[in-house]
Symmetry: C2
Subunit: 460 residues, 2 copies
């Protein structure tokens, strides 16, 4: 792919934005490299936009010159989503940070794409509402929609797939589309919202997002429960879900993580596969949920299950889980970390985690595991010394086996991180030739010049 | 659109299926006319298929001859979805009625497209599981996926959009695609599942469906509550949802319906706007939910709220609601009935229902209203004497005003019935020129010869 006319596009956008178009090397670098081991690739320029109309004009210029145009939110994605392997214009949406409307009676809000999830929740707090999707990082809502993000609360509240009500996006032809109205459900034609959710900026640049909101629960209970094995913990998860206990969070951390927590967070958890849980509801409801879970855990040989409802106690408990990344990182000074994720049917979860742990051991690698196990989704955080060619090779081997294992178990190569460049090689294994061909047909139809985030998901 | 070679396609399919291809006038009529007032249009032939492979071969033949091919499930759709305005082959999937697998631990199942929702629930009963989506009719799961159906349980369990895990479909080029694996969530590329859900057979013919299942709740409580006004009832709904009470069903029936119930079902309900409710959970949970709702209802001037947990008592309560159609029909002997649906944000629901009732009165029309009000979705059942040209005209005027009213309130022209032929004229009003253009681009890319259910949603 040759992009002869990107220079011309940059010049025209400079005229439009003035100082808000940057070609400074540091800015370009920052917008071309994420936390993954994918090699960075800086864009030719970064456009700091303030409105849908500006995005529209930029995309129109890029379309005319066939220059790549790449959406950028907070830069927290993990699969090389916003790198610019063919150069082009990075469109930084972080200044589009206005909450445009909150409809408390309808439990929905409309925000500009650059609003982060934490900023939205601060905005909502005095209305007694919250936006539950929590991928860990303080990502932008636009970026979360674009990558179909989820996280700890998804087992109860769903992912961005379920929680985006509508989107405003600029298409490759420079036209603006609003994908749906505010009705909670609709059967009026193709699901344009879901087509754009998870499309990673390759079908349109999301500039506004309508999201669902929820009332802050009257009572929240949080607890921790050790288990004799990964299998026992996973069986407890399966029974919890099957019984219909509306658990809000159910997170598995492996022994490696518990060791790291104990060292880093100065707490004293039993070194065992452990579930961190949270229950939302009325006071009576969360108490009942906790008791029901406690009984299940005991039956599986787990426990003791201790739970707290006071905010400070809950915060203390979850702090260790939130610090998971830093806790393990502190044990691996000087190494780079790469988090990957897969997702399998929960009946296969214990098997998949056990095999992966055995693989880590056999490969001589440190890769603590943490999982949103209510959905069958787990992460392996791989630590790597890039100068050590042998370690890099072993990690790459393990990474590929992990993905093949998950797909063989009727799972997916990514439950929540997305494809970006990192998982492209595995799409055909997961979706078959025909599935990928169908995705490619859609990309070709909607972006025939291949200007929107080229080289990602299904590269044309 | 001229289809010169449909005759040739019919001949080739006859060779393939023998007796299972019918050109009998009665069979063609039945496969070309639904319960709507859209004029029927019979296909040239009806193919009774038994496997994905047969569908694949039929579509390949039709593609070669550019003959229309139209999926048919149980014939219960309501917007002319399966009429054949350009002739062609109706593919009747009702004999594809096998439940292929049930994964109890993962709470999912895979069924052939012709399995009906009731048949699936009979199959699941002894496993303690159920499939909650209930559009009223005993529709096929394939048809429900194709129309993005929902119904009374959607407020808690979601619609087909949320409950289809994956689909197997035959595309316009005769290739078979499986849209996803069994993982509960995935970020692996474009959401092919959601692209096909609601596409009404215009992008592919669904032959197998993976669906989510749920544990049958330990306790079910059902109740009825009259209100002084539509506004009061809707305010009670809004507060119920905002408080996070996980109501499983919350149905509004208007006074016209209550009158009809009392006459038809020999019960004695107070003639007032009334909510029918159902709560699912533990015994303590449903009791608490019922009490919380009762308190809300009282605050809104509603009540008394009476609720029952014994199955026979619940059945008796809901029977009246289930008989709604027959109850009102018995008051309008000799008239045809046409059910339509719209969906608005719940904050606008009372306004939309009130304005519609006033419009019905001013138009001199009988149109009882029933609504899945937790989602802001309601139906108007219009009764019409087709020989009365003036009444037909008044109904058409009311119908169009209803849809324009819903869209003006940021709602949708159809919450659950779908577009078919009936709502095509309103898609641009709802989605804008660009939204419809985008749908058309997708249709063009995936079905360039326009053989899949032509003349529906976005006619090329």
């Amino acid at each position: 792919m040759i992009r002869n006319s990107t220079t011309q596009a940059v010049a025209e956008i400079k005229e439009l934005l003035g100082d808000r178009l940057s070609t400074a090397p540091a800015v370009r670098e920052q917008h071309g490299k994420d936390q993954t081991w994918a090699p960075g690739a800086p864009p030719d320029a970064v456009a700091f936009v303030r409105s849908t109309e500006e995005v529209q004009r930029i995309v129109s210029i890029c379309a005319r010159h066939e220059a790549p145009v790449i959406a950028y939110g907070t830069g927290t994605s993990l699969e090389g989503h916003f790198t610019a392997p063919f150069g082009g214009i990075s469109v930084d949406l972080s200044a589009m940070n206005q909450v445009l409307e909150v409809n408390a009676e309808d439990l929905d809000a409309r925000v500009q794409a650059g609003v982060t999830r934490k900023a939205l929740n601060v905005h909502l707090r005095d209305k007694g509402l919250f936006f539950p999707i929590d991928p860990g990082a303080d990502a932008s809502i636009g970026g979360m929609a674009a990558t179909r993000a989820s996280g700890t609360n998804a087992v109860r509240y769903g992912t961005m797939r379920e929680n985006v009500l509508n989107l405003t996006a600029v298409l490759a032809n420079g036209e603006v589309v609003k994908t749906a109205n505010r009705a909670k459900k609709s059967s009026a034609g193709y699901d344009l919202t879901r087509l754009l959710v998870g499309s990673e900026g390759t079908l349109g640049i999301i500039t506004e997002v309508g999201v669902k909101l929820y009332g802050i629960p009257e009572s929240i209970a949080a607890g921790v429960c050790p288990f004799p094995s990964i299998d026992a913990a996973c069986q407890a998860v399966i029974q919890t879900i099957q019984l219909g206990i509306p658990v809000a969070r159910i997170e598995l951390v492996d022994e490696e993580h518990v060791k790291a927590f104990n060292a880093y967070s100065k707490i004293d958890l039993k070194v065992a596969p452990t579930l961190f849980l949270e229950f939302h509801g009325t006071e009576a409801g969360t108490a009942e949920q906790s008791q029901l879970f406690g009984a299940i855990a005991e039956e599986m040989g787990g426990g003791p299950f201790t739970w707290e409802t006071k905010e400070e106690d809950r915060q203390r408990l979850w702090q260790a889980r939130h610090d998971a990344f830093w806790a393990t990182k502190s044990l691996m000074p000087g190494k780079e970390s790469f988090a990957t994720d897969v997702c399998v049917p929960i009946s296969r979860l214990a098997e998949c985690v056990n095999e992966t742990q055995a693989d880590l051991k056999a490969s001589g690698l440190y890769g603590p595991i943490v999982g949103h196990v209510g959905d069958g989704n787990f992460h392996v955080v791989l630590y790597c010394d890039r100068a050590d060619a042998d370690e890099v090779k072993r990690i790459k081997g393990l990474y590929e086996r992990l993905i093949r294992r998950a797909i063989a178990m009727e799972g997916t190569c990514t439950g929540e991180h997305g494809v970006g460049r990192g998982k492209m090689a595995f799409l055909e294994l997961e979706h078959g030739t025909q599935g990928v061909a169908l995705m490619r047909q859609i990309k070709q139809a909607l972006d025939p010049k291949n200007i929107l985030n080229p080289g990602k998901i299904v590269a044309l």
